[in-house]
Homo-oligomer: 209 residues x 2
């Protein structure tokens, strides 16, 4: 085991309207922070080495019997295995209904003509070196995204309630390949694009591979 | 063109707690009926010949800006192509949040010990001859499933509001392979399991393959 394994990795910054990918081992903690406030980060994940096992909004909502996830809640994979447990959360307002923003979303909802950066494209690019194809990227866990659901079922995207320094912390419940973005959608981020910070606290392991 | 193509196909009955699969051509109408009332039917679909293109709850909710779908609403694929348009609906209460019921769901939520029939297993069995693997089956459009979302995000599964003879009709917007069930979950069907009927009205086509 590397002595640094139990220490937080160097915090990383995701530039505005971009994305990245990284691996977590079971037990690792992922902290996602909003350095300037009102900025969404889309998260998707696969079991490391088994891309058929991926994050499932439908299973997670069913098993939690709620659409708002916070401390103590589990995000499940499509095969019903736990992928993440939320262990800290200063915001308590995230979305698990919406697909990541995409070129098609900007065209359909915002009549955008030209190319527009998007979480979907950024996840595709970041996860491609891990062998992930675009169609395998499903509904993301949209950290800090503030979606109101009215009693008639109408969904409204509101400014995030996150302020500078707010964060969420998720424990990996299996070895994972994760994609994470600083969201590219005007409406989701109250009209401006900011970076997202993340850090990984490595779990102590007896035998490092 | 076969003269029968513009006529409704013989209505089919799906036995309680079972499922089936069938193909639709673009323009076909699929009518799903509840013959006895309070019975849910889970629907999933793939583009015929392109299993990477499949039904997406996350895209559909995003593009509709609502979680309750009825007449005029479009169900989208993961690549943002329209798959279905709802053209008739006597119930107006369906779910698009929940994964299909599964062995794991019955164990997790209802402490079920032994095997339990499930929509997920029934969809897997029905779609396997079409080359579909279990992990490719995502969040279903749960016809007649009555899910209340409280303002705090709590989700409650209530008895369906469908009565005997109620139906929904969906137009296929591309050539499709569909899986459809008569749902196996006690809670979703007010405690009893009934069949589901469906019929296909074939679109008139100039040149039948």
């Amino acid at each position: 085991m590397d002595d640094d394994d139990a220490l937080p990795s160097q915090p990383q910054r995701i530039a505005p309207q971009s994305g990245t990918a990284f691996k977590l081992r079971r037990g690792d903690l992922l902290r996602v922070s909003d350095p300037f406030g009102e900025q969404v980060a889309d998260l998707f994940a696969f079991q490391d080495g088994e891309a058929a096992c991926s994050l499932s909004s439908g299973r997670s909502i069913d098993y939690a019997s709620k659409v708002c996830f916070s401390v103590g809640d589990v995000l499940y994979a499509n095969d019903s295995q736990p992928m993440f447990t939320i262990v800290a959360d200063t915001v308590r307002r995230h979305d698990f209904l919406m697909a990541p923003c995409s070129q098609e979303m900007f065209a359909k909802l915002h009549h955008c003509q030209g190319p527009h950066p998007s979480c979907f494209d950024n996840l595709c690019r970041a996860l491609q070196p891990h062998g992930i194809a675009p169609h395998q990227i499903g509904t993301t866990f949209n950290i800090f995204m503030n979606v109101a659901i009215d009693l008639d079922g109408t969904v409204r995207v509101l400014p995030p309630t996150s302020r500078s320094g707010d964060f969420i912390e998720l424990r990996a419940e299996m070895d994972l390949v994760c994609g994470l973005t600083a969201c590219s959608a005007e409406q989701s981020n109250n009209g401006s694009f900011k970076p997202i910070d993340f850090a990984i606290v490595r779990a102590a392991v007896a035998h490092d591979a």
